[in-house]
């Protein structure tokens, strides 16, 4: 998996055996990560899997219990101050001051990040332009719609033009159009050399990433490009089953060691041999008096991949 030899890009983030425990609880368990410069790295996992704890360690907010690593070339254990100068961080809370105007928020963060006086005006105009807030600079931040807040928060986090950007679930609570625009911006930034480390639980967003890592119960259980993950990790087929009494059907299949889960109004079953499995499934469900309308093989989505991985992990 560690295929950094394939490329000459320097590593923006590189950690080995990173571990964090809270008492008895191991939140992050010996993880290794390598993120190349200019890459959009997606860090995925269910809630409580250790995403936030990892990001906090990388940002210098939390000391690792064990392990070593560098962010932007600085040691995560001894150089957290240097790391903070070189990263931008934006969380799902879009941490802006609601009772400050757009411009006051920008001025504040610009000062906190010590943006040189000669650059301040240019950076401010850049953020206003980027967030589409040029004519709302004197509006109170609390009056802005979610999408604008999100872009302003992003703008404030990158006023100092950090080489690495950490985004913790940056699109939660934002409408689909804004989400798409947001990812366009992220892609542009990555193209111009900024490394983006992003966590999300929207699986459709995983496709925007150059590479992904899936964390579950503190451990990384898969890593690779979206396509690699689809192909490599999905040696088995996914069958989509349309039937009535979905929950009964699910229980029936899982009781017979056929990994399945509900996706909207259908079931997805992951099987080794699709032909044999189809027959077995039809028999099982018919015996239970469940009407099967349709069974067909589908191209697995990343969501299928992750659900399967988590269930087998």
């Amino acid at each position: 998996m560690k295929d950094q030899s394939e490329t000459n890009s320097p590593l923006s983030v590189s950690v080995r055996g990173l571990t964090r425990t809270f008492g008895e609880f191991v939140a992050v368990d010996h993880i290794d990560l390598d993120v190349r410069k200019g890459e959009i790295f997606g860090f995925l996992g269910p809630n409580g899997a250790g995403k936030s704890t990892t990001i906090k360690m990388l940002c210098g907010l939390l000391l690792p219990t064990e392990g070593t690593g560098t962010v932007g070339g600085f040691d995560v254990i001894t150089q957290s101050e240097e790391i903070k100068q070189n990263i931008g961080y934006m969380s799902q809370k879009f941490s802006l001051y609601d009772d400050l105007t757009v411009e006051e928020n920008i001025n504040f963060f610009s000062g906190i990040y010590n943006v040189p006086a000669s650059r301040k005006e240019a950076r401010k105009e850049w953020v206003l332009e980027m967030a589409g807030l040029k004519d709302k600079r004197n509006a109170l931040t609390k009056t802005l719609p979610g999408g604008y807040k999100q872009r302003l928060a992003l703008g404030c986090a990158i006023l100092h033009e950090p080489p690495i950007l950490f985004l913790d679930e940056p699109t939660s609570g934002v409408d689909p159009i804004s989400r798409r625009n947001f990812w366009t911006m992220i892609s542009e930034m990555a193209a111009s050399g900024t490394t983006v480390f992003v966590t999300t639980h929207y699986m459709d967003e995983a496709d925007y990433c150059d590479r992904l890592a899936l964390i579950y119960r503190g451990k990384i259980i898969a890593e690779g490009t979206p396509n690699e993950l689809r192909v490599e990790h999905m040696k088995r087929a996914v069958l989509e089953i349309e039937a009535d009494r979905l929950v009964d059907a699910l229980e029936m299949l899982n009781a017979n060691n056929i990994e399945s889960s509900i996706f909207g109004s259908v079931l997805h079953a992951t099987v080794a041999d699709e032909k044999a499995a189809e027959t077995v499934i039809r028999e099982l469900l018919q015996k239970a008096g469940i009407t099967v309308n349709r069974i067909e093989k589908i191209v697995p989505s990343l969501e299928d991949v992750f659900v399967t991985m988590i269930e087998t992990a």
Binding site: C59, G60, L61, E81, K84, Q85, I87, Y89, S91, K93, S95, L96, Y97, D98, D99, L100, E104, N107, F108, F109, G111, I112, Y113, N114, A157, F166
Partner: protein, 372 residues
């Protein structure tokens, strides 16, 4: 260093915007001191005026009328009743219609004229011991003065009144002179506690604290950014209350005008420290508010602001040594009323400074631990 100051400056500017844009905060900062000054200057008074009084006069002579007239003219007494019988007089006291009764027995006037000892009896309702004592004191003085005028060798010595009280520093015994300087201490205490703790907790509540922690802003800069604005506000409030006290209540300032801000500065170390400390135990602004009042009430009660420390049980007297308010009240009253200088006040200042250093160290330690 410059970069550090720039960050602190940004924090201070931001805090001022928060306060000036929030009507509730603005009220706490500017209306509260004015209100407290006025309440303590006008309403909360231990001054004794217009004491409802009855005169039970069995002598009914020129002399008894003259004493009565002088009591009335003093302004301290309002002569409301002239009971005719002992029972009637008793009734007035029992029903609380009067607090004091002046009783002249038959022969008062002739005793004076024949240079015998003339006796006046003063009966007071002792329920409110403070008022009773003051009433007796005033009446006693008025009668003594009259007696002295009649005969320099004094005839009315038998009046059973103790005249030990000698008011040196507040000769008018005006409680506003005593209270208004105290208001400076109280207002600074309350606003510093409230604003500091709320300002920190609010950031935690809305999630901006997390954002600040990933910026180059260091914990010490954060602490300074969260205390300097409220120190500035505290100084403004001090000036506001002082000016109000001087203009409206004609409070004298006998001491040095330099020592006032100087000792306020020392006092601020403690109170901002306590505010910071509260911010490390409270998770929400509501909790910060509750914790503030949990600190504030006992601190005021055990400060000597209203109840003298010497009258407290010994255990509580020891507790007051940890109370910054206690020292600052002595300093500020000394400054205003006695004109004390540093040569007299330094032990209080040293104690206040020590308490301050302990509190701020403890608070900073907890604060850094929480934000780490």
């Amino acid at each position: 260093m410059n970069r550090s100051w720039e960050r602190i400056k940004q924090m201070v500017i931001k805090e001022f915007i928060h306060i000036l844009r929030d009507p509730r905060m603005k009220a706490i900062v500017f209306v509260l001191p004015v209100l407290q000054t006025i309440v303590f200057g006008f309403a909360v008074t231990t001054d004794v005026n217009n004491i409802p009084t009855a005169v039970y006069d069995l002598d009914k002579t020129y002399e008894t009328r003259e004493v009565t007239r002088r009591l009335r003219a003093s302004g301290y007494f309002e002569i409301r009743y002239f009971p005719e019988t002992r029972e009637e007089m008793q009734e007035l006291l029992d029903r609380g219609k009067v607090i004091m009764v002046l009783n002249f027995n038959k022969g008062f006037s002739s005793d004076i004229k024949s240079r015998r000892q003339a006796a006046v009896q003063i009966l007071v309702d002792g329920t409110d011991s403070n008022t009773a004592t003051v009433a007796m004191d005033y009446a006693g003085r008025i009668i003594k003065k009259y007696a002295a005028e009649l005969d320099p060798e004094s005839a009315v010595q038998k009046v059973k009144i103790d005249l030990r009280t000698l008011a040196w520093y507040n000769p008018e015994l005006k409680s506003k002179n005593y209270n208004v300087p105290g208001v400076i201490a109280m207002v600074i205490f309350l606003t510093s506690l409230l604003l500091t703790s709320m300002a920190v907790v609010r950031e935690r509540e809305v999630g901006t604290m997390e954002q600040l922690m990933v910026t180059p802003l260091k914990p010490l800069e954060l602490i300074l950014g969260k205390t300097i604005p409220f120190a500035i506000i505290a100084f403004i409030e001090m000036v506001l209350v002082t000016v109000l006290g001087m203009l409206i209540f004609k409070i004298p300032i006998k001491g040095s005008l330099f020592l006032l801000p100087f000792s306020t500065g020392i006092y601020l170390i403690s109170v901002l420290g306590i505010g910071l400390f509260i911010s490390t135990i409270a998770r929400t602004q509501q909790q910060a508010l509750m914790a503030t009042f949990l600190f504030y009430m006992p601190a005021v009660l055990l400060s000597g602001f209203m109840f003298p420390i010497e009258n407290m049980p010994v255990v509580f007297q020891y507790v007051t040594y940890a109370n910054p308010l206690r020292y600052f009240l002595v300093i500020i009253r000394g400054l205003f009323l006695k004109g004390n200088g540093i040569s007299i006040l330094w032990p209080q200042m040293a104690a206040l400074f020590t308490v301050g250093i302990v509190v701020i160290s403890l608070a900073s330690f907890r604060f850094r631990k929480r934000s780490a």
